[in-house]
């Protein structure tokens, strides 16, 4: 098997909120061209890892290295949130969808191309004076938006306000918007949450398409195991801020530690636990 090229390397990452150690000495790698899934029970610290990677939190300790295709390296923990996207080319979505609900679907995708258009418009001055470079860039940005509208199957709703879309479409739009920033690494925070099975399927299609067409590597947090096991190449499991398992989906699925984390304990021990709990409540009465 050929050695894999890591795009993102998380080394000894720790994040402390007061007395709570949300992430404790976490190290993992995400490989270029892979879909990496970050899973774990509620409160395991998955979203905190995301916020550290994308610059929204400053980690207490540790190093996050992003290596672009051209070989340029960025230490994400030192960059502020917008620089992580602008310079390091890491895009993200949010667990509770954050669209610009009063802007149209198309406008949402144009806002995502802000930095490119700012350059083309000479930081607004040339654009205001009507220079053709900006007009060309504006036309290109619409083409780019059209491409992603088509991918996300939203072309029919392009001129509707984003807040008017159904939930599943909003999820797809948020991913399309993140892709419009031209990222090399895409972080998705529970993209399948609240989707029905058909929408989940469409999401899988979209993510596979993103990987195969643009070569963008994906890191996703997900609870929906059908999505995780279906599309991810590599799974990292967190519990209480620590990594308990790391490997391909089959490996993780059969890891006793993962099963224990999700189900608590082995089946034959469950009865013991129930008996214990009942004994306690009985004593309290």
């Amino acid at each position: 098997m050929m050695t894999k090229d890591p795009i993102l390397k998380v080394d000894h990452l720790s994040m402390r909120f007061g007395g709570l150690m949300a992430i404790n000495d976490l190290s993992f790698e995400a490989y270029r061209g892979d879909i990496t899934a970050l899973i774990g029970p509620n409160g395991a610290g998955k979203t905190t890892v995301f916020n550290c990677i994308t610059g929204f939190y400053k980690p207490t300790m540790g190093m996050i290295t992003m290596r672009q295709k051209a070989g340029k390296e960025f230490l994400l923990e030192r960059m502020s949130d917008f620089e992580v996207n602008r310079d390091a080319k890491v895009a993200r979505t949010f667990q509770n969808i954050r669209l610009f609900s009063g802007l149209t679907v198309l406008e949402n995708l144009l806002v995502a191309q802000h930095n490119k258009l700012m350059m083309a418009s000479g930081y607004t001055v040339l654009g205001l004076l009507g220079f053709p470079t900006y007009k060309k860039a504006a036309a290109q940005s619409i083409e780019q938006a059209k491409y992603w509208l088509d991918k996300a199957n939203l072309t029919d709703r392009a001129d509707d306000p984003a807040g008017d879309l159904p939930y599943g479409a909003q999820r797809r739009l948020e991913i399309a918007r993140a892709m419009c920033t031209g990222p090399e690494f895409l972080c998705l925070d529970e993209p399948a949450a609240g989707l029905n099975p058909r929408e989940s399927l469409a999401l899988n299609e979209l993510l596979r398409g993103i990987r195969s067409d643009t070569g963008t590597s994906i890191l996703l947090i997900e609870h929906d195991m059908s999505v995780v096991m279906e599309i991810s190449d590599h799974v990292v499991v967190l519990e209480y801020g620590q990594k308990i398992s790391d490997g391909n989906p089959d490996h993780v699925k059969n890891d006793p530690k993962v099963i224990a984390a999700y189900l608590g304990v082995e089946d034959d021990e469950v009865e013991d636990v129930i008996a214990e709990v009942e004994g306690e409540t009985g004593g309290a009465h």
Partner: protein, 520 residues
């Protein structure tokens, strides 16, 4: 308890009973509210003693108005409105069936004839009759003109709505000559200056503030500070260094933009209420500096004798090479006012042009995105610091332009012109007009500022309430009532919807229920 019969009560008598009951309650509440405010009044008698004056008659009028008003509302007006079915919920206007009954061609012709006739012969007629009758005459004239204009608007509404901006600009360009023709050179002063220029200053200020509040969603309660910076920049630099208006106009804008940035830096981390309070404080600081830095600003006395603007070097004075002499016209200050009118019109249109243009640029979209969701903006690589700063400074720049125009128009500036109330009025216009909508804001400014100016014209009110009644003192009351009415009727302002800046197939305006007001 009265026996409740099980026989079906007719809806009519039911309604009357309810209306009577609600009217009674309204009267009772107003009695409780007003008995101490209106019923009793403390006063001084001739011996300088404090006495209680009882005004039961006045109290009775207040209570009766409340009670009868509520009764009429419940019994007649509300059922009437429901029967008419105010179908057009978007515009909030009455349906066409009512409007066509109201606007009839014969009435329109009669109103047009009366309005025009009184406008031409009104002066001669009112000279020969008593002032009371004259006041009624002017009221009739006003009503006829308003009805005529309203009818024109109604019959051509489709065309007007479709081409509103163009028609409004043409009307504004034609406004001074038309007024000049109708009222003569001296008569035009009031209409061009008090109405035209005054309204346009507020339109421009509100459009400038709209960039900060309406687009970027940053609540700025100290906008008048930039207006003051612009006004004092012109006043001081022209009196100390003798620079001309045309050099100082852009300079005032740049200085105001600079101060916008100065304000922007400390407030970048603040949101919502906190931001509002700091901007409010900033406005007050600027005013207090102007009051107390007496060596430079002359404090509360203000700066007077500010030079007038010139048109390509032509002065508007009585000299041999002044405007009037060159044009072969009799000397009048009206020409200067008309020049100022066109100047502020040009400045306001520049503001509108830049606002419209900026909205379609990446920076404008970033402002609106910032209003919708700041965190999402940052996740897309948008530097929210510079985005907010540009919004503050560009908004401030237009405030500065307007300020220098204000100084050149008045010829005098003092800190009294830049109190918090001004900021509040400008903000109120932006909110009433519909945040983000240039047309809505312009209409709101015309209604609000024009309406309060019109109060001065209500000589009829003087006839009713006595000579010492000054209607313009009630303008703030009118402002408040208008705000409440508009906010109940259209909570997102006159134009609540938002025009998208780009579209793929068709341009659909975005309903106000989706857009956010901003939180920072």
């Amino acid at each position: 308890m009265a026996n409740t019969t099980s026989t079906p009560v007719s809806a009519d008598s039911n309604l009357t009973a309810r209306a009577l009951r609600e009217g009674f309650y309204a009267g009772l509440i107003s009695l409780g509210l007003f008995v101490l405010f209106v019923g009793l009044k403390t006063d001084q008698n001739i011996l300088n003693e404090l006495i209680l004056v009882q005004r039961w008659g006045l109290l009775a009028i207040f209570v009766a108005v409340a009670a009868v008003g509520r009764f009429a509302m419940v019994a007649y007006i509300r059922p009437f409105m429901e029967r008419q079915k105010v179908t057009n919920l978007v515009t909030g206007l009455l349906p066409d069936s009512v409007a066509t009954r109201f606007f009839k061609l014969p009435v329109f012709i009669a109103a047009a004839v009366i309005g025009l006739g009184l406008m031409i012969f009104g002066g001669t007629i009112s000279a020969s009759i008593s002032p009371t009758a004259g006041a009624y005459l002017s009221l009739i004239r006003g009503a006829a003109v308003v009805y005529t204009l309203a009818s024109v608007f109604f019959y051509f509404r489709a065309y007007i709505v479709a081409n509103f901006s163009m028609l409004a600009i043409i009307a504004l360009i034609l406004y001074p000559p038309v007024i000049l023709a109708l009222t003569g050179v001296q008569g035009s002063l009031k209409w061009v200056d008090n109405f035209g220029v005054q309204i346009l200053i507020y339109v421009m200020l509100a459009w400038g503030l709209n960039i900060v509040v309406g687009l970027a969603g940053l609540l700025d309660l100290g906008y008048v500070a930039f207006y003051a910076v612009g006004a004092y920049s012109y006043a001081l630099l022209s009196s100390y260094f003798g620079l001309s208006f045309w050099i100082l106009l852009p300079l005032a804008g740049i200085l105001a933009a600079f101060w916008g940035m100065i304000l922007g830096f400390p407030v970048l981390r603040l949101k919502g209420d906190y931001l509002a309070i700091v901007t409010l404080a900033f406005g007050e600081i600027i005013r207090l500096v102007l009051i107390n830095w007496t060596e430079v600003t002359k404090g509360t006395f203000g700066v007077s004798g500010i030079p007038k603007a010139t048109l390509f070097g032509i002065k508007f004075d009585a000299s041999k090479d002044g405007f009037a002499a060159l044009m072969g016209l009799p000397m009048s200050s009206a020409y200067y006012k008309i020049f100022l009118f066109y100047l502020i019109l040009a400045l306001a249109l520049l503001t509108a042009f830049v606002s419209i243009r900026l909205r379609r640029m990446p920076i404008g979209r970033a402002w609106e995105a910032l209003r919708e969701d700041e965190i999402a903006c940052r996740s897309l690589g948008i530097n929210t610091v510079t985005t907010k700063l540009t919004a503050f400074s560009i908004g401030a720049m237009f405030g500065g332009f307007a300020g220098s125009f204000f100084a050149v128009r008045q010829g005098f500036v003092s800190p009294e012109s830049f109190v918090f109330l001004e900021s509040a009025i400008i903000l109120a216009i932006v909110v009433l007009g519909g945040m983000g909508s240039l047309v809505g804001i312009a209409v709101a400014a015309a209604v609000m500022i024009g309406g309060t100016e019109l109060l001065r014209e209500m000589s009829l009110l003087k006839q009713i309430f006595g000579e010492d009644f000054t209607p313009e003192l009630y303008r703030m009351l009118l402002f408040g009532i208008a705000m409440i009415v508009v906010m109940v009727w259209k909570p997102r302002g006159f134009v609540g919807s938002r025009e998208p800046t780009a579209f793929l197939r068709e341009r659909k305006s975005v309903s106000g229920s989706f857009t956010k007001e901003g939180h920072g």
